[in-house]
Amino acid sequence: MSDTIAAIVTPAGEGGVGLLRISGPEALALARGLFHPAEAVVSFAPSPWRVYFGEIRDPAGGTLVDEVLLTFYKAPKSFTAEDVVEIAAHGGMYITSRILDLIVGAGARLAEPGEFTRRAFQNGRIDLSQAEAVAGVIAAQSERALMASLDQLKGRLSARLNDQYERLIAVIAQLEASIDFPEEGLKFQKSEALKNDIDGVAGEMDALIESYRQGKIISEGARVAIVGKPNAGKSSLLNALLAEDRAIVTPHPGTTRDLIEERVRIRDIHIRIIDSAGLRKHPEVIEEEGIERTRAALAGADLALMLFDASQPLDENDELLLAEAAGKKKLVVLNKCDLPERLDTAALLGRLAGEEPVRISAREQTNLGALVDAIHDRVLGGEAREPLLLTRARHREQLVDARQALSRAGDSLGQGLSEEFIALDVDAAAQCLGRILGKVYSEDLLDEIFNEFCIGK
């Protein structure tokens, strides 16, 4: 059918078991060259869908690489509907990478991102809507994200979009009838009524687009950047949150030179915490890159934890921080509250209108519970208002396009342009919804979907 591909299908660096998948006509032959079953046989000919225990040995020299479990899935009853061999090895990047190298060395091609799924799709194992939902399930990293994926699977989002779609079609029907039947003496809706219909759908789209932001945070996690001047206690805070000693904590300013990203789970959402190099007004040359990264981290962050040292007065580095974080969604954290307060808190807060600070001591681990609560609330923007979550980037893009088209339709209506111009944009909006709903083919559908799969999945 096609060439033989291979990849590690478990996420990098996690878990005690690493799974490798080989798919294609040569899958079994390749595996045979590397796998030595524990039960001595003359020629290894596995029954399909059975698990075999054995060893992977380097064909050059015969050294033992790992003890593994091997399963052969015979076409077409496999993930890709091709011959598939899956090898469960001991986890860790080194061992699994080593085995993958051997497989590729034996003649397999490294799979491209999403290629197994693409093959499954091409071979008729799954249709496109299933493929998209599968991608959502795969990417789900917590129960809440899983709920959102399942919700979409059951079509609740579809039902909402379908309702919007039909309302737009009804608007189009009005417009078209007035164009194509000018002599029928039909009475058409006044432009205000049309505007109300269009605005109604547009408002619902806005709410869904906003829910995407929340949805993205639930399925992909939120990026929270810890920023603050050198020695404000960023690394201590990170460590306190992780309860794990990853960053080096020293009293010397500027020791954290690289961005450190860690994942913590706060209730039902994943948070990626980015610890940055200290922002300093006159950095040593070596730190420039770190500061650049800080700025990058801030730019991509859903929330900035702005860390101030409550035991020091506001200085020029704090000023720099305030300037960098202007316009960001932020949470003000006053650290070192176990020490005598020398920061002019009132003045600081005066410049951060409406911000409610959280007072902690990272070193003493005081008030961390309140900080965690505040992060959670701030990241989600309070309780999730939209029970239906838009979680796929492709869907959001189409909705944003649809929303813009409706704005243009509203403009045309306002300018008193005739029906065909309004219909053009209302139709464009309906087409966007149609692409999400699978009513309309969109040429970039394939690329977008398959690109969303992580490697090997």
């Binding site: 059918m1 096609s2 060439d3 006509p25 509907a81 091609r109 491209e112 290629e115 693409r118 799709f121 091409q122 071979n123 008729g124 194992r125 249709d127 496109l128 809507s129 078209e176 164009i179 194509d180 039947f181 000018p182 002599e183 029928e184 003496g185 300018q415 008193g416 342009l417 005739s418 029906e419 065909e420 111009f421 219909a423 053009l424 692409r435 699978g438 009513k439 309309v440 083919y441 969109s442 040429e443 559908l445 394939l446």
Partner: protein, 630 residues
Amino acid sequence: MISYDVIVIGGGHAGCEAALAAARMGCRTALVTLDLDKVALMPCNPAIGGVGKGHIVREIDALGGEMAKCIDRTGIQFRVLNASKGPAVRGSRAQADKHLYKQEMRRVLESQPGLDLLQEEADELVIEDRCIRGVVTAGGRELKAGAVVITTGTFLNGVVHVGLTHRPAGRADEKPSTRLSRSFLAAGFRVGRLKTGTPPRLLAGSIDFSRCQVQAGDALPKPFSFATERIDRPQVPCHLTATTEQTRRVIQDNLHLSPLYSGVIESIGPRYCPSIEDKVVKFPDKVSHNIFLEPEGLSTDWIYPNGISTSLAEEVQRQVVRSIPGLEEARIVQPGYAVEYDFVPPTQLHPTLETKLVAGLFHAGQINGTSGYEEAAGQGLMSGINAALKVQKRPPLVLTRMEGYIGVLIDDLVTKGTEEPYRMFTSRAEYRLILREDNADQRLMVRGHALGLVSDEAHARCVEKYRSVEREIGRLKATRVLPSPGDLERLSTMGIMELRSPTTLEGLLKRPEVTYDRLAQAFNGDCAVQELVAEQVEIQVKYDGFIARQNQMVARQKKLEGVVIPPDFVYAGVPGLSREVVQKLEEVRPATLGQAARISGVTPSAVALLMVLIEGRRPAADGERQAARA
């Protein structure tokens, strides 16, 4: 035995265009028709054009067809519909003197070199090895032909209904073609059945027009043909009246005498051109429906009451008519009727209108399930062109949906088929804003010229027109307008009292309240361009943004249209395609992925799957995979 290159069977609007096109392209052509007095007859509405339909007529003209010229010479009331809307949806419509129209068309046919007019009935198709060889007439004469175009209208197994009585007939009092119908079945075509209808005709002298509203044509009649300079014929008015509560009661009380509502007629009629009994049943709350009283000609007393198509019993028709203001004393000179007829579902056609089953056999007009003279003529023209191209062994001409309404029409027919008589609407054209009546010449004249259907002179005029348009737009863009006393004074003559920042003449013309005429008057009366050039300049400048967006849509769609599906592609057995989808694809056998996507029931994921299979888009080892798959 007589031998022709192209034989056209049927002398209606499709047949006339087909025969003229083939003959003009140098084919020895015969038009076989039952009655030469009835070529280009208007058996229903005595009018040409309308919204969407007018677009087709303009395109026929740009391609070198006859309909536009003929109506320009015989029209008695010209009106642009939707005149208050944008240029893309304005539709030209003209009342025809229906007798003059068919006389004029007959004159054109008779004076066409290379065209024989044969008053005979065609009985049988001669088919060998799935290729057309000719036709046999009722008199037993065999006519050989390289290609045959069938444009038989409602004559295939036609049955006319008035009340509960019915008789075999092609139109009011004409005999149908039943043997030819059998010939189609014998050839293996799937045949369906449709219905259409027409109102009773009234005697003008018996109508009290003083009780009706006068509806005049446009003060300056706008011709259909790009070649017509002006309309000279005197124009006459139509009249407007409406049905009443009494009309509704008469119909409701007599529905049992309607063949539609007593179960006699089961075939499907046009939803958008319903009979008066349909309107009453389906819209019971609407008391009054508009009736347009349209003269059938200058030399006839017959009036066509547009809006009361009916197949009720004759006596009931009389009561219906007399319930309408102005028609209290009206006399019916021909009762309304419904006609049921066979059609050959058009998914059995290639986009050239050649049948898939029989090479060299083309279908056009109502046989393909359409309704309307304009739709018929557009197909007739394309079938005549493609029949001639086929005989001459030249590549076929298929217009796309991006090029014109004729492209939309034929693509819809061969891709989706039709369940009811198909009528054109502007809403069927997804690129409507660039497919306007005003630019049909720009879109299509080059095609007509390449075929030899449009003269060098007409083509040169078109090229020069659009050069002028481009020059003038260039000048408007280059001419700056400043808040200087001189310019402000010129602006004030247009009612513009202030100018905040410098602009150009083009910028001014984009303003909704500014027309090209007023702009030219105010700024340089000396630089006036021809009226038709001015029209183009104004449209292209004012709707620039919308036109650009439609052009982007066209560019996107062209990618999908460019993916050609191999003609021998086997859909059955492709994993992931449902049986229903496979069946639809096998039936239509789309030429491109774009066409496949338009087939109803073919899902976007099926299109995506086909895209993957056809394009083999994965980057590595492409050739190998294709080979391995095969």
